[in-house]
Amino acid sequence: MSSPVAYLDYAATTPVAPEVAQRMAECLTADGVFGNSSSVNHEYGVRAAERVESARAQVAACIGAEPADVVWTSGATEANNLAIFGAAHYYRGSGKHIITARTEHKSVLDSCRELERRGWRVTYLSPGSDGVLEPGRIAEALEPETVLVSVMHVNNEIGTVQDLAAIAAVCARSSQARLHVDAAQSVGKVRLDFAALGVDLLSLSAHKVYGPKGAGALIASRRRAVQVSPLLHGGGQERSLRSGTIATHQVVGMGAAFALADAETTPEYEHIGTLRERLWQGISALGGIWRNGDPARSVPHILNVSVEGVEGESLVAAVGARIAVSTGSACTSAQREPSYVLRALGRDDRLAESSLRFSLGRYSSTADIDTAIEAVTSAVKRLRSISGR
């Protein structure tokens, strides 16, 4: 099904790739691999377990981890919760201090807020106006009581890429601060080498990479002997870190999607970067357009702009019939609040509210970009005219 609306919201979610859907479909029906992967006493279970382990190897290979590091979850939100609550509880005897950034995803921030209610202390660091979190800020915030540092790799709103190697080096100076990284937006856009980086815990999502919704993973380094307490109990699956029957078709889809991402990252990267610059050039010609984040430090698929002289909700409504984009992150759109990420970067409420996040993907075309330029240009001109600006 094609739509007259150009889809430019790939950072919110992506369509499942046809190759991925095919692999998933093989694991659903009676003539396929539908068995319970824990039931290894019969052929159905063994075949399912083989598919699950093959997917585990695909995910691990894509990010430079060991297959045994991969713990399946329902998505990055659950992985973030497992990492933060799990590490906080496991290491609570060593300290109850956590460091994170104000620009993290809600699943990290809300988990930290909940830990504060339970007696932990959390330091929320503010990145610079370019979205970059200086590793020195983390070094200053580290305390003997710090047990966890949680930093996202690629910001979901503005696309800023953090210097994980430098942050990991800072954390390594602490005897007990483990490093958790939310990498939901990274795979397929930025090369990740989990083992080389010195990261302890890494959260992944399938549906940002042309895999299915409802699948993700927490990568918990066995080599670094990181420990987390489980959130779910009953069954002991996934090294007892995530009990529950493994959704074979979901994890098989995630594995297939990550294998494709690994193969396609470089050509996609260049193609999407070119399209993004075309979009920026076209929109910025309007004047009064602010680019959020530093393009030299961001992934190629995200362009976040604030538009002067228009009200945010009207802007989104005016372009919505022609392009699918986000204002703020998808997770906060229902709240009708200015983006907390942009406010943390120093944008005032009006500019934070009148922001648009364009996120491009594998199926984005020049025609989509030209549609977006035309839609935004005509909407902004009209709204500025209505407001007398």
């Binding site: 228009v310 009200e311 909700e313 009207s314 989104v316 409504a317 005016a318 009708r336 409420d349 009006r350 509210e353 005219s385 209505i386 407001s387 007398g388 600006r389």
Partner: protein, 128 residues
């Protein structure tokens, strides 16, 4: 956010948007851009011989689609009506008509305030 068909139509076809001035035009404003909603009405009043009614309306609005749609509707509906500081229908009725969420009620009050400010200027002139 989803919008009713009427809201979307008035928002997308804000044909009364603009400014106008002259001896028989009266201007009123309310709200602020910094706080997210600002509205200005220019109201033309017919001469007493012609009935002293509203002859034409133009508006400017910085606000959400509901605010722009309500301004457009008021600008269309007021023509030919007697000069009244009240809107052609109450704010509550406007809220129902445009299916405006209750948390946006304050924005409709800004529309009413801007209308009232323009009309009061006209009434003052007429009574002077």
């Amino acid at each position: 956010m989803t919008y009713s068909e009427l809201t979307r139509r008035c928002f997308e076809h804000a044909t009364c948007a603009g400014e106008a001035g002259g001896a028989d035009w009266f201007r009123g404003q309310a709200g602020s851009r910094e706080r997210g909603t600002w509205v200005q009405f220019d109201v033309q009043v017919q001469s007493a011989d012609a009935g002293g009614c509203v002859g034409a309306v133009r508006f400017l609005a910085f606000g959400c689609p509901h605010v722009i749609a309500a301004c457009q509707w008021v600008a269309e509906r007021a023509i030919g009506l007697a000069l009244e500081p009240r809107l052609p229908e109450s704010v509550q009725a406007l809220r129902t008509r445009f299916e405006v969420p209750v948390e946006k009620l304050g924005r409709l009050l800004i529309v009413e305030d801007a209308w009232g400010a323009a009309v009061r200027g006209a009434v003052l002139r007429r009574n002077a």
